[in-house]
Amino acid sequence: MTNGTGMNNKISFQGVAKTFPMKGTDFTALDGVSLDIADQEFVTVVGPSGCGKSTLMSMAAGLEAPTAGRVLVDGRPVTGPGPDRGVIFQQYALFPWLTVRQNVEFGLKLASVPAEERHRRADRAIALVGLDEFADALPKTLSGGMKQRCAIARAYAVDPQVLLMDEPFGALDALTRVQLQDQLLATWSREKRTVLFITHDVDEAVYLASRVVVMAARPGRVHRIIDVDLPYPRTEDIRLSAEFRQIRNEVWTSVYHQQPAAPAA
């Protein structure tokens, strides 16, 4: 916020490239990615598999460092993971030897939150995702949707300002997915976090976001950014509206029939 690179930008990718050393030549996963995400914005990213979506998110999370360019959160370069950014993985990544409550309390314990407050915050996060009855259950007894709810509660509990979600609903059935989308939006409009949400589902991308970032592969780059001029709260009516379908078709076309981006918007 102090360095004038963008006043209200929560997350800022500036000319970011990422190459992985391979046998022979290096592999360029991302090249020249620039993207600004405003505070409290909900941005989704779609693109063909292998275009570097996960890599992009890993850099915002601080799990990977860019080989060129900068990734800023709150105007400061990311140097590693931090409690200001919560991450939700596609494979749930719950600790299978811990109960739902212990999983949710994991981050709070690391932050040395006193026991009483820890329990309170964990209970609140568990209630928020509707897992109250399963607080003492082990992950192996939960369905996929419940596991992902638990992972979301674990991220919520530490109260991050940024949520980074990598295809979190990708493995769920359509019905559960719609439920979790609505739940996520409801929480987001109440608590106003900044969300960077990766998906391969065009409908999901449009339904959730105020902006959809379409990426292209080889090398991974931003192909187009499409504004979603639909009001929040998003409802079933919106999901079934003509406007929704139009934006959805536009995103679909730019994902599946990628032509070089137009020189001027």
């Binding site: 799990l63 993971p81 600790f95 299978p96 030897w97 192996k140």
Partner: protein, 271 residues
């Protein structure tokens, strides 16, 4: 026709419950049946003198009673158990941290792995002559060989356990603010526990197998020693008592570890 329908219905309704109970009980019944049949077969073969020098089950039981009252069975069992426990504990206590270090630090792995791979190909028993020369014929060489056997079984398992820890679990801990030390203690150790327990079970089997052979080197008591001595005097009943004791103790220890395994790793998803 219509009259027959109701009983059929109830039979169908009851069927799942009955088969569930039966399928749980049948193995146990069959196990006991197999044991009794084997014992009978042994008694018949021994009574007819089909195998030379084969003692009857009754003679073996009487011998066992005698060895129990004069205390030799207890002394031998304790001596063997002591060696197994000391050697096994030594092996496991060394193997788990070494395996962890090998899995966690690439350098440590590169330094130690050649030795592990090399010694893994040598049966521990083949080292007995060498240990006798190096360590004499006291308790030390026996415990050392048993320790080596359990170390080899356990080190590979715990090393593999660390390597196989899911990367996303480590990343999940990191983004929640875990340091390397915390990740090791709170993620790698619990995630590797199932592997380690499997290694510990294999190691226990290896220790128990090794103790009998190790007692062939100048021991004064022990189940292996007792068998060795009995064989020079053709005391078949003593050999049988020792053999059965070894088998029963080995089985008991394995069950105990299995129980611990179930307790400690019940969180695993079983496919």
């Amino acid at each position: 026709m219509a009259v027959i329908v109701p009983p059929e219905k109830t039979a169908v309704a009851q069927a799942p419950r009955r088969t569930a109970r039966r399928s749980r009980r049948r193995p146990l019944v069959l196990n006991v049946l197999a044991l009794v049949t084997g014992l009978l077969l042994w008694a018949v073969v021994a009574a007819l003198g089909l195998v030379e020098n084969l003692p009857t089950p009754l003679a073996v039981a009487r011998k066992a009673g005698g060895m129990l009252t004069d205390g030799t069975l207890a002394t031998d069992t304790l001596a063997s158990l002591r060696r197994v426990f000391l050697g096994y504990a030594l092996g496991v206590v060394l193997a788990v941290p070494v395996g962890f270090l090998m899995g966690w630090y690439v350098t440590v792995r590169a330094l130690i792995e050649p030795y592990v791979q090399f010694f893994r190909t040598i049966p521990p028993l083949a080292l007995i002559p060498l240990t006798v020369v190096l360590l004499g014929i006291g308790e030390v060489p026996k415990i050392a060989v048993i320790g080596l056997a359990s170390f080899m079984a356990c080190v590979v398992a715990s090393f593999q356990g660390v390597i196989d820890v899911d990367r996303t679990l480590i990343n999940a801990a990191r983004v929640l603010g875990a340091s390397d030390r915390i990740i090791f203690a709170k993620v790698v150790v619990p995630a590797a526990t199932p592997f380690i327990l499997v290694g510990m079970r294999i190691g226990l089997g290896a220790s128990w197998a090794t103790v009998v052979a190790a007692e062939l080197i100048g021991a004064q008591e022990g189940l292996g020693y007792r068998m060795q001595k009995a064989s020079t005097w053709f005391e078949m009943d003593t050999i049988f008592v020792s053999l059965i004791t070894i088998g029963v103790l080995g089985l008991l220890m394995d069950r105990l570890l299995l129980l611990a395994e179930r307790r400690l790793t019940g969180w695993q998803e079983r496919r």
